[in-house]
C-alpha cells in the first residue's frame, strides 16, 4: 500500500485563485518535502518540514506557503496562483537519508 499519497492527482486552476495540494504519509517520518518538476529544471525544493508545526523555505519558496498540521500531513498552498506555477508537484517523506516520493500532482494554471 502506497506510503506517500497526494491529492488531487490533477488540478486545473485559474490565475489568481487559491490552490491547496495535500500530501499524506504513513511512514511516520519526521521530515517531509515539496518539490516541483519542470522540463529543463529537474526537481526543485519548495518547502520542507522537520515535523508537525514546522515549515522551512527551500530553494524556490516564492509564491508558495506550506502547512504541517500533523506528522502525517503536509500541504502546499498557492494563495494567488499564476501560470508560471503550472508544473508537476511531488511530495516526499524522509528519514535516514532516504526520501520516499508520492505519485505527483499535475497542476495547470490557466
Amino acid at each position: 500500500e502506497a506510503a506517500v499519497t497526494q491529492s488531487p492527482r490533477n488540478k486545473v486552476a485559474v490565475t489568481g485563485g487559491k490552490v491547496t495540494l495535500s500530501c499524506n504519509q504513513t511512514n511516520n517520518h519526521n521530515n517531509m518535502y515539496w518539490y516541483r518538476q519542470d522540463t529543463g529544471h529537474g526537481l526543485r525544493l519548495i518547502h520542507y518540514s522537520y515535523g508537525a508545526g514546522s515549515t522551512e523555505k527551500g530553494d524556490i519558496p516564492d509564491g508558495y506557503k506550506a502547512s504541517r498540521p500533523s506528522q502525517e500531513n503536509f500541504s502546499l498552498i498557492l494563495e494567488l496562483a499564476t501560470p508560471s506555477q503550472t508544473s508537476v508537484y511531488f511530495c516526499a517523506s524522509g528519514a535516514n537519508a532516504e526520501q520516499f516520493f508520492g505519485p505527483g500532482t499535475r497542476l495547470t494554471v490557466l
Binding site: G42, D59, G94
Partner: protein, 113 residues
C-alpha cells in the same frame, strides 16, 4: 551551495548492453549522493545512496554506482540492461538530508530490443 550536473540528457542503448550514466557534483563537504529512477507518470524511486565507505555501492535491480572524491563524480552503471530499464534517472546531492535534495536535470534512458 550544491549543484549536480548530468551531462547526458538522453542515452539510447540496446537490450543486453552495458549502461553508464554520468553525474558530477559540487559541494563544500563530502555530501550524501543518490540515484533515483522515474518511470512514466510515477514518482521517484531510490536506486542507491552513498555517504561513506566503499566507493562502489550496490543498488536495486543490478545497478551500482562509484563515488570519486577526486573527480567529484558519482557515476551509475549496469552491466546488462533490460527494456524495463527505460526511464529517467536523476542524480541528487545533499550535505544535510533533513533539508532536502538538489537534483540534476536527469538522463532519459531508452532501451531498444
Amino acid at each position: 551551495a550544491q549543484s549536480v550536473t548530468q551531462p547526458d540528457a538522453r542515452v539510447t542503448v540496446s537490450e543486453g548492453a552495458s549502461l553508464q550514466l554520468r553525474c558530477k557534483y559540487s559541494s563544500s563537504v563530502t555530501p550524501y549522493l543518490f540515484w533515483y529512477v522515474q518511470y512514466p507518470r510515477q514518482g521517484l524511486q531510490l536506486l542507491l545512496k552513498y555517504y561513506s565507505g566503499d566507493p562502489v555501492v550496490q543498488g536495486v535491480n543490478g545497478f551500482e554506482a562509484e563515488f570519486s572524491k577526486s573527480n567529484s563524480s558519482f557515476h551509475l552503471r549496469k552491466a546488462s540492461v533490460h527494456w524495463s530499464d527505460s526511464a529517467v534517472y536523476f542524480c541528487a546531492v545533499t550535505d544535510n538530508y533533513a533539508q532536502g535534495l538538489t537534483f540534476g536535470l536527469g538522463t532519459r534512458v531508452s532501451v531498444f530490443p
